[in-house]
């Protein structure tokens, strides 16, 4: 499964739900923490931690309006299940890039 992010372009996500608005900054901040945690886990071969984080992103991303995070999480989870470090690195790079380029517009 691949995410639909385009290299180099700003990614606009529109949020029009007042209930969710206040949760978004922390959600994205936690995903940035996940990037660091996954990189560290990959260095010591801790695929269980990576699987759990990928699974969590898969289950939560779309609920906050970030379908790409669900997709990337799914890919990370699948890669962790088969202990594929190259794919995990690729997906975590994609996540990192997404988080840098995503711009949330509150409507």
């Amino acid at each position: 499964m691949s995410s639909n992010v385009n290299d180099g372009e700003k990614i606009v996500v529109r949020i029009d739900d007042d209930d969710i608005k206040e949760l978004i900054p922390e959600f994205l901040k936690n995903r940035q923490t996940d990037v660091k945690t996954i990189i560290a886990a990959l260095e010591c071969g801790d695929y269980e931690t990576i699987l759990v984080l990928g699974h969590g992103m898969k289950g939560s991303g779309g609920g906050y309006g970030f379908d790409a995070i669900t997709d990337i999480g799914h890919s990370i989870e699948d890669a962790a299940k088969v202990k594929n470090p190259e794919e995990i690195k690729k997906q975590v790079d994609e996540l990192s890039s997404y988080l840098e380029r995503v711009e949330v517009v509150y409507e």
Partner: protein, 132 residues
């Protein structure tokens, strides 16, 4: 349905998901408790006797499946009304729901979900299990 709030025990280890449940279940209808693993869910189930239990399948310490087994086992020896149990899982794990169905569940939630949709879905499962 009576005017009394429904007691709902939500079990999910992911804080982002916990926040969605909290936002999506209005205070007018639900008295909410949220825990992060199946073992804590069992302890709270015993002391609080919720009307509804939401169990995420994949959790640390004790999975939702194991918690479901224990709750249904406890209910065999209890005179209290059985709780409505709803399993939650990510979209690629639907087969897990089938395993849980064998133990008796009243519904399921596929993640990711929108918090605006969760309340009606849960109430629908509850009302189906408790027709007036």
């Amino acid at each position: 349905m009576s005017d009394a709030k429904l007691k709902i025990l939500i079990t999910d280890d992911d804080k982002s998901i916990q926040a969605l449940y909290y936002k999506g279940l209005p205070e007018d209808f639900f008295e909410k408790r949220i825990v992060g693993n199946g073992s804590d869910a069992i302890e709270l189930y015993k002391s609080w006797k919720p009307d509804i239990v939401i169990l995420d399948i994949m959790m640390p310490v004790m999975s939702g499946y194991e918690a479901l087994k224990k709750i249904r086992e406890m209910e065999k020896y209890s005179k209290d009304k059985s709780s409505v149990i709803i399993m939650a899982t990510a979209m690629s794990s639907k087969n897990d729901i089938l395993d849980c169905a064998k133990l008796g569940i009243q519904g399921y939630i596929i993640k990711p979900f929108k918090h605006t949709e969760i309340s009606n879905r849960i109430l629908s499962y509850y009302q189906k299990a408790n027709p007036e």
